[in-house]
């Protein structure tokens, strides 16, 4: 057993199993998370050699300071109007989550996954893309749809698996798909989409097209082999892809140290592949957008892929199927040092004189009405257990372009 000095006098081995700093009942402690001052991290040129920017994998790019000022070399990527729109998107997503979470509790659907605390990541990222680009998301990037203008009613129809569900009731709630809105069909298993994003980007390059792809993954799923596959393919072929890692600290009940191991950061995973690897404050709308835009430019200029780690915190449960108080202190989210993305952007807009508490309240009310109206509209088409639902015949369709004889026989047996 190893003593404090790194010696192993008995010669006996022992297994190291990492533990989070604190468990339920303990006092939340983020003293190990080093938060650099906003504006302190440099902004390299997009064509700087990846080896020369390894430092960015170990810091955190931040734009909004404690007073709500946008500072440093990453500031200034958005106009005031765009920032107000961004605030609206995040608030819409939060309100949408809140209504759908309630709908799940009311038994209107089987399952839900919310974004609480992580709204800036997908909402701000979406604004750095152009029409035709493609996201390969996980289940916690619905901000890509909200900020992309996808109809909220269709999202609800999917969640309810009702007769207007664009996916005909075949998928779990929140596993949306929309090619038109640059949102690849969500799988539900983990990490598979990451290498698919790289393949899609390679195809764009093979065809000498102009479109880029973005892969999404959580901190826990970076342990999957497909994460490695994506990084090695992206690196080898310099694919025009942005590889996003959303580090929200928790993979269901498993703290991020289990997937990260001895590596200092998730961003550092990219360094061995020669990828520029940036860490960014995931609760800072401006920083997320600035870094995403930088990576998108790098991809569009055919320079190659970028890995981005968003440092954030999952305030809610993983899904409606787990209770976080069983594995982490209840007060932990309040102790999270990077704050709340909605409040931070709101404070910034007030600070620069573009916003007020009163206008914020008005927008909150207007958003609530919008979401409630969408929900009413969706519920006209039914919820999971009542009203309209996709037909049994639909179940047999779409397995293949053309239905093979054995499936026709089974459909006949089923009496549809």
């Amino acid at each position: 057993m190893t003593d404090g000095q790194g010696n192993n006098p008995t010669g006996r081995l022992s297994l190291h199993v990492p533990e989070p700093e604190v468990r339920p009942g303990g006092k939340p402690d983020f003293s190990n998370v080093t938060i650099p001052k906003a504006g302190s991290v440099r902004r390299p040129e997009v064509d700087e050699h990846p080896e020369a920017m390894r430092d960015l994998a170990f810091s955190i790019i931040r734009v909004l300071d404690r007073e709500g000022e946008a500072v440093g070399p990453w500031a200034g990527s958005l106009t005031n109007e765009e920032l107000m729109e961004g605030l609206r998107h995040m608030m819409l997503l939060r309100a949408f989550d809140s209504r759908m979470l309630m709908a799940q509790r009311q038994g209107k659907t089987s399952f839900y996954m919310q974004h609480l605390g992580e709204e800036a990541v997908s909402c701000a990222f979406r604004k750095a893309l152009l029409p035709g680009d493609m996201n390969f998301p996980t289940y916690r990037q619905a901000g890509l749809l909200i900020a992309g203008g996808y109809p909220m009613v269709d999202m609800m129809n999917e969640i309810y698996s009702n007769d207007a569900d664009p996916l005909k009731g075949r998928q779990l709630p929140v596993l949306y798909s929309s090619k038109e809105y640059g949102f690849f069909t969500i799988s539900g298993n983990l990490a598979t989409q990451y290498i698919q994003a790289v393949g899609w980007a390679m195809a764009s390059a093979i065809k000498n097209d102009t479109k880029i792809a973005a892969g999404w993954i959580g901190d826990g799923a970076t342990a999957e082999s497909d994460f490695h596959a994506a990084l090695v393919f992206a690196s080898t072929y310099r694919a025009p892809v942005i590889l996003n890692v959303v580090n929200n600290q928790w993979a269901i009940s498993t703290f991020q140290g289990i997937a990260r191991g001895g590596s200092g950061t998730f961003a550092a995973r990219g360094l061995g592949f020669g990828l520029p690897s940036l860490r960014v404050d995931g609760n800072d709308y401006l920083a997320v957008h600035a870094v995403a835009k930088w990576a998108a430019e790098r991809a569009r200029r055919n320079i190659g892929p970028t890995l981005i780690e968003y440092v954030t915190y999952r305030v809610g449960a993983h899904s409606t199927s787990d209770d976080p108080s069983a594995y982490r202190p209840k007060e932990e989210s309040e102790a999270w040092p990077l704050g709340d993305p909605v409040i931070r952007l709101k404070n910034h807009l007030i600070r620069i004189g573009a916003w007020s508490e009163e206008r914020h309240k008005q927008m909150e009310a207007e958003i609530r009405d919008t979401v409630v109206a969408a929900q009413k509209e969706a519920e006209k088409h039914g919820t999971l257990h009542s009203g309209g639902r996709p037909s049994m015949r639909d179940m047999f369709e779409g397995v293949y372009a053309e239905m093979p004889p054995h499936l026709k026989r089974q459909r006949q047996q089923a009496g549809v």
Partner: protein
């Protein structure tokens, strides 16, 4: 008409497809510059350039995952897994991704990918270069599974696979690449040069998926086979003098049940022969279907002759392989039943 070996016919199928359609891309381990460990892609990189035929990192999940992304973009990737035995790391991508994109996105995204992989034994490849995993694919809804037995079919079926709008697993019996091997491993190797199905048009043609063919008409018993076992079954029929009707399934999924049922109703007996392990093998599915559809025409129990339920051994390769001796013995026993 030109004569081709099966590997040449497969290469010709990719060549013709790449020539006709700029969206067809080919990649895999050692596939680019070198042209594949079995030479299946020889010359394609030189002809079509490095961005349409290229080498990849050794990562099967990466190969299939990237192909899925490319297919979602609009390309038609035809990728090689160096041996079917290496496909397991890609199984998640094949079964939960490629097979389901169309269904889960309600047709928003589709996956026209062809995955080629050499299958079966007979080359002293040991347990990791000899497996026949076809049943692991036929069990997956959304996939199609093809196993050619000769050069003519291989080319026509591969072109059909590449042009198909959904994913196809294309299993190439590696022992057939250079000749119609009938299981007599101790006899001199025969080549495709003298075989009628070694005549292969140089140009584009297709053999449709989902259509079996009667290789040897007969009246005593129906033998269902695919890949290498078609030749074993044909040889065994000749050697035993038992008038077996040998059906080459060619496509396992979708299956040509009609041709099977028609034959079994005529002969009243059915034997299934495959190289893959017996338990839960594709033969079990075939036996179930035959009894469901032909029960009152059967004069004897359906018999399966297959690889033993052991890993594919090295030294005992020919004790493991269901060759003419085992198939012949089973045929004779069946005729006495």
């Amino acid at each position: 008409m030109p004569r081709m070996t099966m590997i040449e016919a497969i290469r010709s199928a990719m060549d013709v497809s790449m020539e006709r359609d700029g969206d067809v891309v080919v990649f895999g381990e050692d596939v680019g510059y070198f042209g594949g460990v079995f030479r299946g892609t020889q010359g394609l990189q030189q002809k079509y350039g490095k961005t349409r035929c290229f080498d990849v990192p050794i990562n099967e999940s990466g190969i299939v995952g990237a192909a899925i992304g490319m297919a979602a973009y609009g390309l038609k990737p035809c990728v090689e897994i160096q041996f079917a035995d290496y496909m397991y790391p890609a199984y998640d991508q094949l079964t939960q991704e490629a097979a389901r994109l169309r269904y889960r996105s309600n047709g928003d995204f589709t996956c026209p990918v062809t995955i080629r992989m050499p299958t079966g034994g007979g080359i002293f490849g040991g347990q990791t270069h000899s497996q026949s995993p076809e049943a692991l694919f036929t069990h997956v809804c959304g996939l199609q599974v093809v196993v050619p037995s000769n050069p003519y079919d291989a080319k026509g079926l591969l072109i059909s696979s590449i042009e198909n709008p959904d994913p196809v697993i294309f299993l190439e019996p590696k022992r057939l690449y250079n000749g119609p091997f009938d299981g007599h491993h101790d006899k001199p190797v025969t080549s495709w040069a003298a075989h009628p199905l070694g005549e292969v048009p140089a140009e584009h043609y297709t053999v449709p998926l989902g259509k079996a063919v009667v290789r040897r008409p007969g009246s005593a018993v129906t033998v269902l086979a695919y890949g290498t076992m078609v030749h074993v079954a044909e040889a065994t029929a000749e050697e035993t003098g038992i008038d077996a009707e040998v059906i080459d399934l060619r496509t396992l999924l979708p299956l040509d049940l009609e041709t099977i049922v028609q034959s079994v109703k005529k002969t009243g007996r059915c034997m299934v022969v495959h190289e893959a392990t017996l338990t839960s093998g594709f033969g079990a599915e075939l036996a179930a279907l035959v009894q469901e559809h032909c029960f009152y025409h059967l004069e004897a129990p359906i018999v399966r002759v297959a690889g033993w339920d052991t890993p594919y051994p090295h030294a005992q390769e020919w004790d493991y392989f269901p060759g003419p001796a085992r198939v012949g013995r089973a045929l004779r026993e069946m005729m006495e039943a």
